[in-house]
């Protein structure tokens, strides 16, 4: 960080304006959704052990599976697919937007 004048910079946490900034925003949003559902849910199950909420999580059933087992074993893989679809749709959209913008500036 001692050369602030460098022309060429790539940094996930300081994206440059335009396409990269939009892309980084969606990346961070997707990673948030990924982390919270994967690890946040496990923390919740762990933290609620022995309490009423805990037994709600482990006794309530969905498709005959306890809620926590269903969430982890069946819902999370589906959630990952959903996240990937959202990411792709969004990136397709911003790519189109920015390439249209760029083409105009070249005209």
């Amino acid at each position: 960080m001692s050369h602030p004048e460098k022309r060429h910079k790539v940094n996930l946490f300081r994206p440059k304006e335009g396409h990269m900034r939009d892309e980084v925003h969606i990346i961070l949003a997707i990673l948030f959704g990924w982390g919270v559902c994967t690890f946040g849910f496990q923390f919740l199950v762990y933290a609620c052990r022995g309490t009423g909420a805990g037994s709600l999580l482990t006794r309530l059933t969905l498709f005959n599976l306890p809620l926590h087992f269903w969430f982890t074993g069946q819902f999370l893989p589906l959630w990952f697919i959903v996240l990937c679809v959202i990411f792709n749709i969004y990136v397709d959209r911003i790519s189109e937007y920015h390439s249209r913008k760029r083409d105009k500036s070249y005209e």
Partner: protein, 506 residues
């Protein structure tokens, strides 16, 4: 024919059909290039990603570890699917735009250092070898199951079969049709499961949901609570394992190089989604085998002790099919699916490893003047040496299939993932940081087996199958610190990163 000869017959039929279809495809490809199967759209690309991914760990190991450890085993399901999210959002399009096909090539180019490239090649080969050990265990178990022989004999015959397949397909120039492979593997896994669910009287059309009732029956009839969260293991262990498998997925060399088989970045991204869907189809099904297996064992009065369970865990899918009295040919179909998954993973990894020995180590480092013929010979010799090495370790496998595979993921997550992540997202990362990072990553991976006795604290933070939760962030910190303390990488590379890899639309 009895059951085991049916299995052998079906397995041989499947392997032969791959060679025949490959040959047919090859003769057609010369006339209509690209039609026969190399690329057939996003769904085809996804099937290729999934078939590249499917191995003995997915088809045998996953059911085994869930059978053995219940809820803790689900960390594998989540780790091996959630990793694709990381891969897609952080790496897929960027490494494609970077334009280097293999891990050592990327590292050599990005960090501008032959030494870094050499270390990356050695690490990539080590990952392949560990991964292959797990596959060999799977192949050995299936062979000993089919021919009714001991495990050591099974794994030796299996190794011979793989090497002869490589020789035959190499001599005939048979292309790998990964879409067809995926279809065969998927059908071979799910059809027996449906049959099983139907035979046991559960909802068979979607056994992935039908096993819920089996779980209820298991706890009602036998008081086995399969789903208890964090019963034998802590929250940290669950999360560490899950995270390790995720970052490992993002760093596995043979997964990273998949993005070059589709024609453009957009299709590469969408084929990841399809690939993940196809992988999830198998991963939703694997727990069902585990649950049915436990239920059938309990009903037949077989005691579940840790030792016996560990011994049968890796073949639980096949054993369940046998216990339920499925017809012999169907057990054969299941064995054929698992065997072809393991077989083609090994074939692909051995070939990649050998070409890495010949190209990244021999040609680039030892003898840059080597002729095409001598490089070819080194590659062929490399295949044999790698296969022999893998066989040697696999004769006395150090753990369950899923556990051995997890070690390969830990190594990939500790070394290659940080290297790619910073290489793509931080222009200041340089060769010194990369080399220091790789050494730190290797140390983190081997911390428990090598230094666990001296420093017991390491065992809890860097468990051998799950070292990347602490390891990968540590490696990233080391890379950042060393890079900042040493000269910046050349301006040319930083411009390339900004303009070509990230600035393609500005």
């Amino acid at each position: 024919m009895n059951d085991s000869s049916w299995s052998i017959f079906v397995v041989l039929l499947v392997l032969l059909s791959f060679i025949l279809v490959g040959l047919r495809q090859k003769s057609r490809e010369s006339q209509e290039y690209g039609f026969g199967g190399r690329y057939t759209g996003r769904i085809g690309g996804g099937a290729a990603i999934a078939s590249n991914w499917m191995s003995a760990a997915s088809l045998m190991g996953l059911a085994g570890i869930i059978y053995l450890r219940g809820y803790q085993g689900l960390a594998y399901v989540i780790g091996w699917t959630g990793g694709y999210v990381l891969l897609l959002v952080l790496l897929a399009s960027q490494i494609r735009r970077f334009g280097k096909f293999t891990t050592p090539e990327f590292v050599g180019e990005r960090y501008g250092s032959p030494a870094a490239r050499l270390i990356a090649a050695v690490i990539a080969i080590a990952i392949s070898v560990i991964y292959c050990v797990a596959q060999f265990k799977g192949i050995g178990l299936i062979f000993s199951f089919m021919f009714d022989i001991g495990y050591e004999q099974g794994v030796t015959y299996g190794a011979l079969a793989v090497v002869s397949y490589l020789v035959v397909s190499g001599a005939l120039g048979v292309p790998r049709n990964q879409q067809l492979q995926y279809l065969v593997i998927c059908v071979a896994f799910i059809v027996p499961l449906m049959w099983l669910a139907r035979k046991l009287g559960y909802f068979w059309l979607l056994p992935q949901f039908g096993y819920g009732r089996a779980l209820t029956d298991l706890s009602r009839e036998f008081h086995v609570d399969f789903t208890l969260p964090f019963a034998g293991d802590s929250l940290f262990e669950w999360c560490a394992l899950c995270f390790t498998l995720m970052v490992g997925t993002g760093g596995l060399p043979h997964v990273l190089s998949r993005f070059y088989t589709v024609p453009n970045v957009r299709d590469a991204r969408w084929s990841v989604v399809w690939g993940l869907f196809f992988i999830a189809l198998i991963y939703w099904s694997a727990p069902a085998f585990a649950v049915f297996g436990r239920l059938l064992e309990a009903r037949q009065g077989i005691a579940f002790t840790p030792e016996t369970a560990r011994a049968t865990a890796d073949v639980i899918a096949l054993k369940t099919a046998l216990m339920a009295g499925l017809p012999g040919w169907l057990v054969g179909v299941l064995a054929a699916g698992a065997l072809s998954a393991a077989f083609f993973t090994v074939a692909g990894l051995l070939m990649t490893g050998a070409s890495s020995i010949s190209h990244d180590i021999y040609y680039s480092f030892v003898n840059p003047k080597a002729s095409e013929t001598s490089r070819m010979q080194v590659a062929k010799g490399g295949t044999l040496v790698l296969a022999a090495l893998v066989l040697l370790v696999a004769l006395n496998p150090p753990g369950l299939i899923a556990e051995i595979t997890a070690v390969a993921f830990a190594l990939a997550g500790n070394t290659i993932f940080p290297l790619f992540l910073l290489g793509i997202w931080w222009d200041r990362a340089n060769r010194y940081g990369a080399i220091a990072g790789m050494f730190t990553g290797v140390l983190c991976t081997v911390a428990q087996p090598l230094f666990g006795g001296v420093l017991p604290g390491l065992t809890s933070y860097f468990p051998v199958t799950a070292s990347a939760l602490c390891g990968a962030p540590l490696v990233i910190c080391v890379m950042i610190a060393v890079s900042l303390a040493t000269p910046a990488p050349p301006e040319e590379m930083r411009r390339f990163l900004e303009q070509e890899v990230h600035g393609h639309l500005d």
